[in-house]
């Protein structure tokens, strides 16, 4: 059951298949126009930002409606409704507030990706029952009450423990995307290495599906786009299943389409060629 969306607009998360791009722009942190639109209930602007991402190559749209001072429970559900009334695109519900996730799931058509659960007891107890009841997929962050660990084995341990909790609830491993955590190389020179090693361990040993927000890696550094794109290409070689990224940034989707092909991922050649043809027509 490694797909989300609806029968007519389905996105699959297949190990070895093409990388899934989750568009990250609908997040008030770092997108002022979206934040303003949320405050003014300007759904036209919100839907148009979602559409633009889908047209630029996002397979899934991440929706975050957490803005200090706004009622996240009502806002997230309203944004989900607005987007689904105009677009047939799978959604990723981005919140740590289980009530906001629940409300959004209750109004959403099709299957969603819940972003996210982590290793903390409270998070598992609140989020996983919703994933089970609404037949969703879920992002599992490799961190817990002890905070962030840099060593591969601690991160893999947390992933295994969350997968175990999922299994107990009848949520199969094929419904979980593990996020190995990308931290900035700016504050720890081993952050990129730790991410790639964790990715390899998760894919090769545990055979789980993975997801990562790439752009964190370059925080506080110059030439951020270059760094992000290079890490993205490496992550594709290391088998990353899905990425959370900005499809409107020049070059991001190019890297995904070309690296997918170079890494020999299934169906990638055809996808790369039609991507290139499409762009030449424009």
């Amino acid at each position: 059951m490694d797909w989300i969306g609806t029968e007519s607009a389905k996105v699959e998360f297949k190990p070895g298949g093409p990388m899934v791009v989750i568009g990250e722009r609908l997040n008030p942190t770092g997108n002022k126009r979206y934040a303003d639109a949320l405050r003014r209930h300007d759904y036209e602007t919100i839907v148009s930002q979602a559409r633009k991402q889908a047209e630029s190559g996002a397979d899934v749209i991440d929706v975050n409606a957490g803005l200090p001072g706004l009622d996240e429970v009502e806002t997230l559900a309203a944004v989900v409704k607005a987007i689904q009334s105009e677009l047939d695109v799978p959604l990723c519900l981005d919140s740590s507030n289980s009530r906001a996730i629940e409300k959004a799931l209750s109004v959403l058509h099709g299957r969603a990706l819940v972003n996210s659960v982590n290793g903390e007891e409270r998070s598992r107890n609140e989020i996983l029952p919703l994933v089970r009841d609404y037949d969703s997929m879920v992002v599992a962050l490799c961190l817990d009450q002890r905070g962030i660990k840099y060593d591969v084995s601690s991160r893999v341990e947390i992933a295994e423990s969350i997968l175990e909790s999922c299994a107990k609830m009848g949520i199969g491993a094929d419904r979980v995307l593990v996020d190995p955590l990308v931290l900035t190389v700016g504050s720890n020179p081993m952050a990129g290495r730790a991410f790639l090693d964790t990715l390899e361990e998760l894919g090769r040993k545990l055979r789980v599906r993975t997801v990562a927000g790439i752009s964190n890696v370059s925080f506080g550094l110059p030439e951020r786009d270059q760094l992000n794109m290079n890490l993205l290409a490496m992550a594709i070689a290391y088998g990353l299943t899905a990425c959370i990224a900005d499809p409107l940034k020049a070059g991001i989707v190019d890297v995904v389409r070309s690296s997918d092909m170079l890494a020999g991922r299934k169906g990638a050649t055809r996808r790369f060629l039609s991507f290139v043809r499409e762009r030449r027509r424009e």
Binding site: P28, G66, P68, G69, Q145, G147, S187, F219, G220, L221
Partner: protein, 230 residues
Amino acid sequence: MAGEDIIGAVYQAVLDGEEDAAGKATTAAMEAGLDPMRVLNEGGAKAIRLVGERFANFEIYLPELMLSADAMKAMMNVLLPVLKRQGTPQSRKGRILIGTVAGDVHDIGKNLVSALLAANGFEVVDVGVNVPSNRFLDEADKVQADILALSALMSTSAYYQEEIIKYLVDSRQREKYFVVVGGGPVTPEWARQIGADGYGRTAQDAVKLCEELMRLKRSQSKPEQTLVFA
């Protein structure tokens, strides 16, 4: 070496992010009998202010900023025991309890603010990241903090800044501490809305904000509205 030169060496070591050199130069300064507050102010603190400005202007980048912060920590490790022994009125500058609120494990910005406050002579108690609201309050009570500094880097965790202030109000303890907030998604409007005493955009702003609050406290006064340093 003359006093000026030793302090210059501390300044340079922090500026260049040379941890070992900063520790050695500070030790040399103490052996030469220099005033630790002078070493702090004219050496490390002056250097780290410049480092902060360069970072804000994109002249240097995060790895370099982190190295300077480490060098400053090395300096503080030498200075703190001396300051304590002398009973220098370090704690009178103010005691600040700082941490990242529940549900949020971001620590870079919080660590920078923490380091810069310490470099400017505040006594800083850093309680780490993902700190539940009740732990903030327990610790604040335990260390008798003057100021609670609450960091949130996610729009969804900023809510806990509000929760902590609400709790202080409900339990009639709001007057006990100044509460200041900061972090990526935090805005001056949000700070006002939740009734925080202050908002600082950058680490330097946070220092200015805390200095102003302590000045008010010493004159037994308090801000009439949320102070904004941005």
